[in-house]
C-alpha cells in the first residue's frame, strides 16, 4: 500500500481539517432515534459523518475543489484502510475476555457462515428474473463483493467480463452505502423481532471490517451493557468469514451459482450464456 510521503500531516492539513469538521458535526448531532411504531430507526453519528464528508467532497460539491485537491481525496480513500484499524483492534481485544462465551456459541458462529450462501440463493433469481441480468447476476450476488470477492471474480472471469461488471456494481454500492446500511438495518430488525442479540452480533461478520463494525455499533445501542460481547462476537465472526469465505466461494457458491443461473435462464426461455 503506497502512502503519501512523509510530511503527510502538513500536506494534508486541509483534509484533516475537513475530517475533523465531519467528526465534530456528527458527534454534535449525536445519535438520533426515529420511532416508527413497530420499529425504531437509530441514526448513529457515523451516518452524519458520512453525509458531512459527502458534502465536503470536491467530487460532489464543486466549490470544494478549491479547498481539497484530488490528491486529498485519493489520500482519504487510501487511509480508510488505516482508519478502520482502531475499531478492528478494539473489537478484537474484546475477544480474549469473552472467549468462554464465544466457545459456548461456536457451533452457531461456524454454522452461520453458511448464511453467506443463502444470500446467493435468494438474490440470484431476483437479479435474473426480475432485473433480467445475464451473467452479471453471478458476479453481483455470489457474495458481499468486497476486495477479496472482487479479486476472485476478476481472476476467474476476467476484468472485462459481465461477471466483473456485476461484482463491480455491487462493490461500488457497498462502498457508497454498505456501511451506512449496516449501521441502520440490524438495529431496525432487532427492534421489530426479538432475537438473541448474540445471533445478531454473529451475523454482523460479513467479511468487511467497516460493515461489521457499523453493524456492531448499531446493536450496542440496543444493548449497551453487552457492548464487549457484541463486539467480540462480531469481530470473531468477521475473522472467520475472512478465512472461510474464499473456500466457500470457490468450492460451493460459484459452482452452485453457475448451475442455478443456467436453470434460471432456461426458465426464462433463454439459452444460458
Amino acid at each position: 500500500m503506497t502512502l503519501p510521503p512523509a510530511g503527510l500531516l502538513v500536506r494534508r492539513c486541509a483534509l484533516f481539517a475537513a475530517l475533523a469538521l465531519c467528526v465534530v458535526v456528527a458527534e454534535l448531532i449525536g445519535t438520533q432515534s426515529i420511532d416508527t411504531g413497530p420499529a425504531t430507526i437509530v441514526l448513529l453519528p457515523l451516518l452524519f459523518a458520512f453525509l458531512a464528508g459527502l458534502i465536503l467532497n470536491p467530487n460532489v460539491t464543486a466549490p470544494m475543489k478549491r479547498v481539497l485537491s484530488r490528491g486529498d481525496v485519493r489520500a482519504a480513500g487510501r487511509l480508510v484502510a488505516v482508519a478502520v484499524m482502531p475499531l478492528m483492534a478494539l473489537l478484537s481485544m474484546y475477544i480474549g475476555p469473552e472467549l468462554s462465551q464465544i466457545w459456548r456459541a461456536s457451533p452457531a458462529l461456524l454454522l452461520q457462515e453458511f448464511g453467506n450462501l443463502g444470500t446467493m440463493l435468494v438474490s440470484l433469481p431476483v437479479a435474473v428474473l426480475v432485473f433480467r441480468m445475464r451473467r452479471e447476476a453471478i458476479g453481483a450476488t455470489f457474495s458481499i463483493a468486497r476486495e477479496g470477492g472482487l479479486a476472485y471474480i476478476f481472476s476467474t472471469y476476467g476484468g472485462r467480463s459481465a461477471e466483473a461488471r456485476g461484482v463491480t456494481g455491487v462493490y461500488i454500492c457497498g462502498t457508497l452505502f454498505g456501511t451506512i446500511f449496516f449501521s441502520l438495518t440490524p438495529g431496525l430488525i432487532l427492534s421489530i423481532v426479538e432475537l438473541d442479540i448474540r445471533a445478531a452480533a454473529m451475523a454482523c461478520g460479513v467479511g468487511s471490517a467497516s460493515m461489521t463494525a457499523a453493524c456492531a455499533a448499531s446493536l450496542t445501542t440496543l444493548a449497551p451493557d453487552q457492548e464487549a460481547l457484541i463486539g467480540a462476537l462480531a469481530a470473531s465472526s468477521n475473522l472467520i468469514s475472512g478465512l472461510t469465505t474464499l473456500f466457500m466461494v470457490v468450492f460451493i457458491t460459484i459452482p452452485l451459482a453457475e448451475a442455478y443461473y443456467a436453470r434460471l435462464e432456461r426458465l426464462m426461455g433463454r439459452a444460458p450464456t
Binding site: 512523509a6 467528526v23 481485544m93 475476555p97 457451533p107 454473529m202 460479513v206 455499533a217
Partner: protein, 162 residues
C-alpha cells in the same frame, strides 16, 4: 502476496507513514469521544494509546512475517493482548474500557466519504438502479440468513445445555 521483500529501510518508511496516518485517525477518534461525552480526555487518550501500540505491533508483525493481510496480524495481536492468560491483559483491557465502539467508528465514515472519487461516482451512475436494489438485497440477505441460522443454533444450544 507474491512480491520481492522490500528492504528494511523501505519497510521502516512505510511503517512510519502508517504510524502518522494512524495518529491522525486516533486524534479524530479522541475528538469524537470528547464531544460525544463518552469519556474524559485522559481516559480516552489512554485507551487510544493502547490501540496505537497494538495496531503498530500488528503492522510490524505483518512487515516481518508477511504473506497475510495486515488486518489479520492486527486482529491476532489485539486478541492476544486481551487474553486473560497473558500478563498485562488486565491493564490493557482496563485502559480500553472507556472507549466506545460508536465513537471510534465515526471518523472511519468521514474518511470513506471524503475518499469517494469521481471514478467511483461514474461507475455508480453507470451501474444503474438495478444494482442498488440488488446490493440492498445482498446485504440484507447475508445478514438475515446468518441471523436465522445463528438464532436457531443458539436456541438449540441453550435448550440442550439448560
Amino acid at each position: 502476496m507474491n512480491r520481492a521483500r522490500p528492504s528494511l529501510k523501505a519497510q521502516a518508511r512505510r511503517l512510519s507513514r502508517i504510524a502518522a496516518a494512524l495518529l491522525a485517525a486516533l486524534a479524530l477518534a479522541w475528538l469524537g469521544h470528547l464531544i460525544a461525552g463518552a469519556a474524559g480526555p485522559l481516559e480516552t487518550a489512554g485507551g487510544l494509546a493502547v490501540l496505537f501500540g497494538v495496531i503498530m505491533t500488528g503492522y510490524a508483525a505483518g512487515a516481518l512475517a508477511g504473506r497475510l493481510p495486515d488486518i489479520f496480524w492486527i486482529s491476532m495481536v489485539a486478541m492476544a493482548a486481551g487474553l486473560p492468560v497473558l500478563p498485562g491483559s488486565e491493564f490493557l483491557l482496563a485502559r480500553i474500557e472507556p472507549l466506545s465502539i460508536t465513537a471510534t467508528m465515526t471518523p472511519i465514515l468521514a474518511f470513506a466519504a471524503l475518499g469517494i472519487t469521481g471514478k467511483d461516482l461514474r461507475l455508480f451512475r453507470g451501474a444503474g438502479p438495478a444494482f442498488i436494489v440488488i446490493s440492498l438485497l445482498v446485504f440484507t440477505g447475508t445478514f438475515l440468513a446468518s441471523l436465522t441460522i445463528a438464532s436457531f443454533v443458539l436456541f438449540l444450544l441453550d435448550a440442550f445445555s439448560a
